[in-house]
Subunit: 244 residues, 4 copies
């Protein structure tokens, strides 16, 4: 882009960044990534920068430093790199008249999967590192939406148990179209509900637990719950409600 168009673009995209406007650090900001750098791009020349682990990798209870470090470095940063590679191939592919649209879509599908992996992993790491204790307010919020806090936790854990030995995510999300806080089963990075803000994200790919627990996915789910950072959950819920 020319300098001029770049300035115009920054102006235009500034309007989009509602998440940080609500006072909650957007993904990347906590890690000190300059916001202007991240947004001063078009859909075609954007490059994603990895976000550092937002907690001390030695500090988790029941999830080893080795595992979480490998998870971050190999699976998450690997996904960031792959996303950038795939995105980098799009402009040429779009302009290649000999490339059939369905082959172009193979790249778009890969972009979608990697986008899902990057976004979900950042949300996952950001909701770990806490003491696992939901405040009375937070329990009430979930109780209001699910009938009881236990109903929420039971369903969230059950979905996780059903994903053991395979791959996928469990996500508590706020569906802005249905105006519902719901638990979602997701079979892979690209399986998501539309128009939904993720509030609490649990990785059920085997790389999230095999190294520590082998096939004992239930033990990992216990460890996940013991490390939930409920402040992050509350912030995400607050972002949704503050904008109301």
């Amino acid at each position: 882009m020319t300098d001029l168009s770049r300035r115009e673009f920054v102006h235009a995209t500034a309007a989009f960044s509602f998440v940080s406007a609500a006072g909650i650090p957007a993904i990347g900001e906590a890690a000190g990534i300059d916001k202007e750098t991240r947004t001063m791009t078009t859909a075609f020349d954007y490059e994603h920068a990895p976000v550092a682990l937002p907690f001390d990798p030695k500090a988790l209870k029941g999830i080893s430093e080795k595992l979480i470090q490998s998870h971050w470095e190999n699976n998450y940063v690997g996904a960031v790199k792959a996303l950038n590679v795939v995105r980098g191939r799009l402009p040429q592919a779009l302009n290649d008249a000999s490339l059939p649209p369905y082959v172009y879509n193979d790249l778009k599908r890969e972009q979608l999967i990697r986008t899902g992996s990057v976004v979900l992993h950042e949300l996952y790491f950001a909701n770990l590192g806490g003491d696992g204790k939901a405040s009375a307010d937070q329990r009430t919020r979930l109780s209001t939406s699910f009938g009881s806090y236990d109903a929420w936790e039971t369903e969230f854990r059950k979905i996780g148990a059903g994903l053991g030995g395979g791959s996928g995510w469990v996500v508590l999300g706020y569906n802005e179209k249905l105006r519902l806080l719901e638990n979602y089963w997701m079979g892979d990075h690209a399986t998501n509900p539309p128009g939904t803000m993720p509030i609490l994200v649990m990785d059920m790919y085997e790389h999230a637990y095999q190294m520590d627990y082998g096939a004992a996915a239930a033990k990992y789910i216990d460890a996940f719950f013991a490390n939930i950072k409920w402040d992050t959950v509350a912030q995400r819920l607050g972002t949704v409600s503050k904008t109301a």
Copy 2:
């Protein structure tokens, strides 16, 4: 729920409904569905009510009344009914100790697919019924995000062409985590990017065009563009930016 908990719930969920707060009618409101009725539920007892077609089914250019009526009645309302049936089975299934978690997840997957179908269809119908003419402002916005308006349209159409003969959606969406306006390929109702607000939605399931165009998906894409209601697109973009 008791009346008391119901009142508390309405209070609590009121905080979530940011979309309507921004002055843009949420899905359902335009169709006169009472907002309180729609939100006064938990994730387990929510029932979705179908939203009427927001335009005269005879008024579309190049998409027949017969097709759009069948699309609305059979595919969309059918998905609403299926969503309600599946949701209705969840509470018992959750409490059935003999039901393995992976069978519970089969229901959750069906819920996800039907949720996707319902939400995407409502967004689709709501961005049809216009004159297909983007304003200068709207073109500039897309140009800013994609390098040029033509680059946006070229990619959006190419993804659609690649889906011809199969099933899926093309969605221009605002990814709130990456802060990017992007075109997404989606292979089915449940394939979506996380944390993304759909802005313009094109149905590429064959029921969206076979009856009128047979296998000539490209002609349907032309018809879709001729009927885009750009005001809706602008409102959705505005919702995202106004909250900034």
Copy 3:
């Protein structure tokens, strides 16, 4: 390949062609495609030739000539062309050191989908064009495997009904590893059981019926049953059993 390697190859591949050896014409042969031409290739330079419709397109009951012609020409031949295009891109992609394996796999996935579409469509057309009347022997065979002929038909139709409005296939197949004749749900061209010979194949993509029946998938399923060519079903069952 050199002439020598070509001769060696023909010799080697001859050993594979058990289907025709059992006296049942393999796919392609009925259409007069020279067998040697079809097998004298490696996995990397194989090109698939479309097989003509094995019946008069005007002769089906309740499935219009227009629909079946469009189905064959656009969806099936389109898949053949796509398969050849994708296969043609593989050798260069395999030798491109700068291409990440996961992008190579995007092509392999496309190859798999197109292979599935080509094979399933050929089997589908080949089991149409009959009078829909199963002989006593054929009914007994299904009865033996499913408890009763009606149990088989009920399940086969129910799977089809559940796919209405979406996409996929219903396949009666012989699983050679489990030694079971079973009905399978398949969500798309690439969703299949491993090690299974398809015996009766019903296309449930919307292009198989929308043009004639709109969303009324049940009517299409009736029409499908009225046109089943049970001789083909018997031949395929015979192929499996004759080799015993």
Copy 4:
């Protein structure tokens, strides 16, 4: 079934069992499972019995006893149990008039996934436990089909590398309809080409390597190759060709 129908059934199904007829033990036989027991069932009352590991779990090179034992016990036997549970639910579900066909299909999809997992795992374990050395004949066979043995191995490994960090299978299979020996990418247990006999099967789910290698999938692929039992590969190829 009555005794009479049972006898008739055994007679009828005997005709199917071509694999053992060719002199190659079918799945289950090596483990001493009585053949008659296994086939004397209909599609609705079949129960699958787990097959023991066909090699000493301590004997693999670079794949630990702990991992392979967990893989067999948790992932494979777990899939067998799940398959039996799901199959056991089918008859009642089929006869439940209040169950919508699409919910019945959720069970059929789970059946398909578990069938895929069971069959592919049995093939996988059965092609491990060897010395990893392909004979000259076996190399020639692959060379004939892929241009060179190296081309085959390069592609097989590349597909595997692209699946690292996710889930899926790499399968060398003989497509009986295309009459081609090909390498296939498979994204999960239910993603397979139709009408194809698996010849060499490599598990790329993370449970196949995370415990030993963490995210280093390439090291696992080396270990897999070092343990290939080429005799099994040759037998499977022979089954295909002997029936010619």
